[in-house]
Amino acid sequence: MSPTAISESPSTAPVTLAKALNKGLRRAMEQDPKVVLMGEDIGKLGGVFRVTDGLQKDFGDARVIDTPLAESGIIGAAIGLALRGYRPVCEIQFDGFVFPAFDQITTQVAKLYARSLGKMRVPIVIRIPFGGGIGAVEHHSESPEALFAHTAGLRIVACSNPVDGYWMIQQAIESDDPVIFFEPKRRYWDKAQLDETAAPSYGFDQAVVVRPGTDLTLAAHGPMVRTCLDAARAAEEEGRSLEVIDLRTISPLDVDTVAESVNRTGRLVVVHEAPVFFGLGAELAAQVTDRCFYRLEAPVGRVGGFHTPYPPSRIEETYLPDLDRVLDAVDRAFDH
């Protein structure tokens, strides 16, 4: 857990990421009557992960809208609502179900601000539970963030912990740009103290050093932040000081924070569940090489999924980066 993100306030019990997101949504809905939620099973059921639990009861079915089972319909209708002055927050039930909406997201949502020469804003948030590690069936464990990051006009973010979840969902809703908001589904039940009276500690465009170190930088987002923190603790026992960066935002990518870190540590390993081929790690490796070429002690390492369809869950633990695979990449960086 991010040490910088834990509230000092002892007055509240720790909350899960799912609950923190729920509280963030609730607060955004209280503050702006134009915020509406849309999605499949988000009303009475409260969403399959209960992120919208109780919101329809309190805000009514005009603001918490159970939709037909049609993802393109959800996003397309959200565009119309946005044009009418609403701020729709759409839930895509699982990562693998976003593709029926891929057309509306990439050809419409992403482009309308530019097509109207700035006259029409599309403040839509698209929440996507993503990533594997929960033993799910096919299409329930994917990490499609690179597919969206390749499209200009979208902001792509991923929260990794309850405190960030609470604040980042509100920042996403306040954003006048469309935001793809990735939620690490296997971390939904992680807990942290949350002080709702505090101000958010970080800007929406900011990566954060969540564990300082001197010998190598680990950069990750979403579910892999905890994995990297675990790896850093294990490495410490071996006498290596790893710095961990929670990227938090993928588009824009806060290369400044990573480059500043790598200029101190001289080594970078990027970790994500998504396949490494054409992935975030490749982009970060290129940009960091560009900016830190003479400070690098080793090539930028990448740890991630493979160029295969997401495997059946019985072998997903081999596909997903874990502490050992991260430390293996760390070893290679030091051996270079």
Binding site: G73, G76, D103, A114, S116, S251, L253
Partner: protein, 393 residues
């Protein structure tokens, strides 16, 4: 090539409409089935004779009829100028509405100021009725922008090129109207080809489920580039609506009176909380799909001639003359106005400035984005380097 079964006299539409069980007709070998034989709402025959319909009464006085005629003429002229500008290399592409003027003007004039239209890329006539300056339509066809107007200024969405996408936007907008408690309504324009798209069918589902105040206005112009309507549907398109749980109506899309009356009724139905309607405006694309298309490769001239006899302008002109509602002076005046408008469009088109290359970065995001800012800076420096070289020489 293709031949079309001649339609029965349009007068047959006035007989009590037998409603045949919609058993799918096999597509005819020539690509055209019995669809042309079905009853359709008609208030003005191709011969310019006025008809009445019990469900769609329409009082049109002489002034209103002349105004509609003026619209049709001006819209056709806007379109002709677009085609001419493309042929002369001033536009990269133009999508002609020739033949569809009545469908667009009739439905467009049925809207109230607070209503909202979601067009395809061919709705130049609807744009005209909403007060969007024709020159605004040319930007994307000339390649100086990708739309460029404020949809909320005239309640006219940007043109949408991906087929059918806008029907969902229309439904979402209608859902917003419901939440505002307003009595505005929405029209979603699309074509026979779009009726096959998932988005259009999802739009039907959403609109029906939420009883949204939206009118689906399908201009069945018989051709989706080279594919006849029969390739899209085994049933007449208006009958699709019943499966979704709302009414479908086929109207003579070349009859501006009927399009006006039917659309107005559907909009009123929507704004009074009675939900969506599908209108199939049965019309014909007299020209090519776009200026890049060659329709002689897939359809015969006999079919085009058949539809020329159903021309939307000619029948209204005949009506105005027969009824003594317009004289030669009026027609001359409208022609002169059309000439003036065409000249204005031409001058405006030629005066459209190319955007500065760096402007591509301006509206990618509403605020700063690190990648965009870095690339803008790099490109600016690169472009600037050419100036330096010129100075050095």
């Amino acid at each position: 090539m293709t031949t079309r079964t001649p339609a029965r006299s349009r007068r047959s539409a006035q007989a009590p409409a037998p409603d045949p069980v919609p058993v799918p007709e096999p597509a005819a070998a020539d690509g055209h089935g019995a669809a042309d034989e079905l009853p359709l709402i008609q208030l003005l025959t191709p011969e310019g004779e006025r008809r009445s319909h019990p469900d769609y009464p329409l009082d049109v006085d002489a002034e209103q009829a002349r105004a509609l005629y003026r619209d049709l003429v001006l819209v056709r002229r806007v379109d002709a100028e677009g085609t001419a500008l493309q042929r002369q290399g001033e536009l990269g592409l133009w999508a002609s509405l020739l033949g569809q003027e009545a469908a667009q003007v009739g439905s467009g004039r049925a809207m109230r100021p607070g209503d909202f239209a979601f067009p395809t890329y061919r709705e130049h006539g609807v744009a005209w009725t909403r007060g969007v300056p024709p020159i605004n339509l040319l930007g994307m066809f000339r390649g100086v922008n990708n739309g460029g107007w404020d949809p909320n200024e005239k309640n006219f969405m940007l043109y949408t090129i991906v087929i059918g996408s806008q029907t969902l936007h229309a439904v979402g907008y209608a859902m917003g109207i419901q939440r505002d408690g307003s009595d505005d309504a929405v029209i979603a324009y699309f074509g026979d080809g779009a009726s096959s798209q998932g988005d259009v069918n999802e739009a039907f589902v959403f609109a029906a489920s939420y009883n949204a105040p939206v009118v689906f206005f399908c201009q069945n112009n018989q051709w989706a580039i080279s594919e006849p309507t029969e390739r899209q549907s085994r049933v007449p398109l208006f009958r699709r609506a019943s499966g979704f749980g709302f009414p479908g109506i086929r109207v003579d899309g070349n009859d501006v009176f009927a399009c006006l009356a039917v659309t107005r009724a559907a909009l009123d139905r929507a704004r009074t909380g009675n939900g969506p309607t599908l209108i199939e405006a049965y019309t014909y694309r007299m020209g090519a799909h776009t200026t890049s298309d060659d329709p002689t490769r897939y359809r015969g001239n006999d079919e085009v001639e058949l539809w020329r006899a159903r021309d939307p302008l000619a029948r209204l002109r005949t009506y105005l003359v027969r009824e003594g509602q317009a004289d030669d002076a009026f027609f001359a005046e409208v022609e002169a106005e059309a000439d003036e408008l065409a000249a204005e469009i031409r001058a405006g088109c030629l005066a459209l400035p190319d955007p500065h290359p760096l402007s591509m970065f301006d509206y990618a995001y509403t605020g700063p984005h690190a990648q965009v800012e870095a690339e803008r800076k790099q490109l600016a420096a690169y472009l600037e380097s050419f100036n330096d070289e010129e100075v050095a020489r």
